[in-house]
């Protein structure tokens, strides 16, 4: 059974900004779901919707089921129990938000002591040590302050923090952005290991398709608040059914492939602002294969076989 299921989730921010427009996705224990898409397509909005961290002024539709229970129907007490202990988030850019004047050990112990008040100081310290080792840092680093750690080490601390109360679902929002390739590889290897060893369900959010391709089982590509393609990670990039996923994959150079030598590929134009969406398929102004019907009616996300879905009028055509 899915640990997390989004059913037709929509989020509209104040001022009539529909940032997420009917997203259905699910992830099971031991599974990694990737969410890709350009800046502003609604990735972090989904993250925040899962643990009800959106501003009060935002309107939410559809449902978010955590272990079968609707998050948006939970009492505040129940919600507090669920945060950290069932699901936790590694927030985008969070490695800059560690408290500078407290040791990282104390920061990791905080949610443990809060959620399991009977835990002794000593037991908490032990658990902190274990968590640090789990993310590949020596337990003695618990005494360090954030400024004593490199960016990659701080990101490991954020992951240890997310694991503090033994959640079964972790959502990692851009966990490797701003890290260099070697450290990025270390962090991705760490996350994959945790999924395998602890049977975690992991949602990995990134604007970098290549990061997702190596780590995820399935990938959902978002555009303008909707999923436009979903399927097994390997095929979504190599054999996309939606021109947008194709363009995103194509924009990522493959080192050693002569087609990319002196030929950086991009995708002209900008994604639309959610408050001002074009009619029909929202991708049509940038789509290289658009035709007249594309600007007429909204395009549904439909099954295209082999566990894949795509929202394109041409999705049925052979590629």
């Amino acid at each position: 059974m899915s640990l997390l299921e989004l059913r037709d989730l929509s989020v509209t921010y104040a001022g009539d900004v529909p940032a997420v427009r009917g997203v259905s996705l699910s992830v099971a224990p031991g599974e990694v779901l990737g969410v890709a898409g350009e800046s502003g397509c609604g990735k972090s909005t989904i993250t925040n919707a899962v643990l009800r961290l959106l501003p009060k002024s935002a309107t939410v539709g559809g449902s978010v089921l955590l272990d079968g229970e609707d998050v948006h129907g939970m009492s505040f007490g129940r919600l507090r129990a669920v945060r950290w202990a069932t699901a936790s988030i590694v927030f985008q850019g969070a490695l800059h938000s560690l408290n500078a004047v407290r040791t990282i050990g104390r920061q990791i112990a905080e949610p443990i002591l809060l959620h399991e008040p009977k835990t002794s100081r000593k037991a908490a310290d032990l658990r902190v040590g274990e968590l640090l080792e789990q993310v590949g840092l020596p337990a003695r680093r618990a005494r360090d302050y954030p400024h004593q750690l490199s960016g990659g080490q701080r990101q490991r601390v954020m992951i240890a923090l997310a694991l503090a109360c033994r959640p079964r679902l972790v959502i990692a929002d851009e966990p490797t952005t701003a890290l260099d390739v070697m450290v990025q590889a270390q962090v991705l290897q760490l996350l994959s290991g945790l999924v395998k060893d602890l049977g975690l369900a992991l949602v990995l959010i990134s604007h970098d398709l290549s990061v997702l391709g190596t780590t995820c089982d399935r990938v959902a590509v978002m555009y303008a608040g909707k999923v436009v393609e979903e399927g097994p990670a390997s095929v979504v990039f190599d054999d996309s059914r939606h021109p947008y996923s194709g363009a995103l994959a194509g924009a990522f150079p493959r080192v050693g492939d002569p087609r990319f030598r002196y030929a950086p590929a991009g995708l002209a134009g900008d994604p639309p602002y959610p408050g001002d969406l074009p009619a029909g398929c929202p991708f049509h102004p940038r789509c290289p294969v658009a035709f007249d019907r594309c600007s007429e009616a909204e395009v549904e996300l439909l099954d295209v076989g082999a566990g894949r879905r795509a929202a394109c009028l041409r999705a049925g055509e052979a590629s």
Binding site: A178, D180, P253, V255
Partner: protein
């Protein structure tokens, strides 16, 4: 002729030997990528090449003449720095016009300011330029902001651009557009370009030559296609193996992070993390890894690696 060169450059910050002996040339009209992990000294070398830090040893040459630190202002017109905008290189309270005109005013460049600003914006692909004059950074997309930063450098008609991570936090779609722009500037204006990055894909996309830096030294250099398809240094091999590809095999994930430039090990500086050394080498080679002081790689166009392995 080289447009910009480092000759035996050393840069120190206290005990840290951030750049520890580097020879590097950027030929006229050439695109060179300087790659390596965080903290290896890329930006420090770039700053030395821009005259922003003074090497404790070695020299910087511009058009084959040693850089005269008393005439930095003149030098800056020839060699311009392009930083990534998210690092705050645009002032949020300045319009696009003001941002681009700033260089002209600092350097008291004669001529019609409006025309020069418009020309620079067009070269950076912001057309028609007048439409962008009065916009503020927050009214632009990430890619457009990066183009404004590039226009700000181009307005002084430099011969060399030094771009430090010009695209690293941009979306893949936008990234390609900016890289295409850099390539076009080389073909159309004959610009030379040093791109500092930890992204090997970027090097593959646009660079003629690549220099791989590790702990203050260049450990491998050569034609991009050769270095990235037949790497010789174990560090380059490891870097290539972790480039996130859509289908890749056996990543060599190095343990630990960029080592400390205030404690550079004797012998080969990569030895403590070298997978080839760790896997066991014949005794006489291993001894060389531990003891031999490897020479500074030459700045010429050949393929060189600082490693005792053949």
């Amino acid at each position: 002729m080289s447009a910009l060169a480092a000759r035996g450059v050393h840069v120190r910050f206290g005990a840290a030997r951030a750049v520890d002996g580097v020879d590097l040339e950027i030929g006229s009209g050439e695109i060179v990528a300087l790659v390596g992990e965080s903290g290896c000294g890329k930006s420090s070398l770039a700053r030395a090449l821009l005259g922003l830090v003074r090497p404790v040893r070695g020299t910087v040459e511009c058009a084959d003449r040693p850089l005269d630190y008393r005439r930095l202002k003149e030098f800056r017109r020839h060699v311009q720095l392009v930083l990534q905008d998210p690092s705050g290189s645009l002032n949020p309270r300045h319009t696009v016009y003001e941002a681009v005109a700033e260089g002209l005013r600092i350097h008291k460049v004669p001529g019609d300011e409006r025309e020069l600003v418009a020309a620079a914006l067009s070269k950076a692909g912001l057309r028609p330029p007048e439409r962008f004059f009065l916009r503020y950074p927050h009214e632009l997309s990430g890619g457009q902001r990066q183009r404004v930063v590039i226009a700000g450098a181009l307005v002084l008609e430099p011969d060399v651009l030094v771009a430090d991570e010009p695209v690293s936090s941009l979306d893949a779609s936008v990234r390609g557009e900016i890289l295409a722009l850099l390539l076009r500037l080389r073909t159309e204006l004959g610009l030379s370009l040093l791109v500092v990055t930890h992204d090997l894909g970027l090097a593959w996309n646009i660079a003629d030559r690549v220099a791989v830096m590790y702990l203050g030294r260049i450990v491998e250099t050569g034609d991009t296609a050769r270095v990235l398809t037949s790497p010789r240094h174990p560090y380059t091999k490891a870097l290539l193996s972790v480039v996130p590809e859509i289908a890749r095999q056996d990543p060599i994930v190095l343990k630990g992070e960029a080592p400390d430039p205030s404690r550079i090990p004797a012998g080969c500086r990569f030895r403590p993390r070298c997978p080839a050394y760790a896997a066991g080498l014949p005794a006489e080679l291993a001894e060389r890894c531990e003891k031999e002081t490897l020479p500074v790689l030459p700045a010429d166009r050949g393929h060189h690696a600082a490693c005792v392995l053949p």
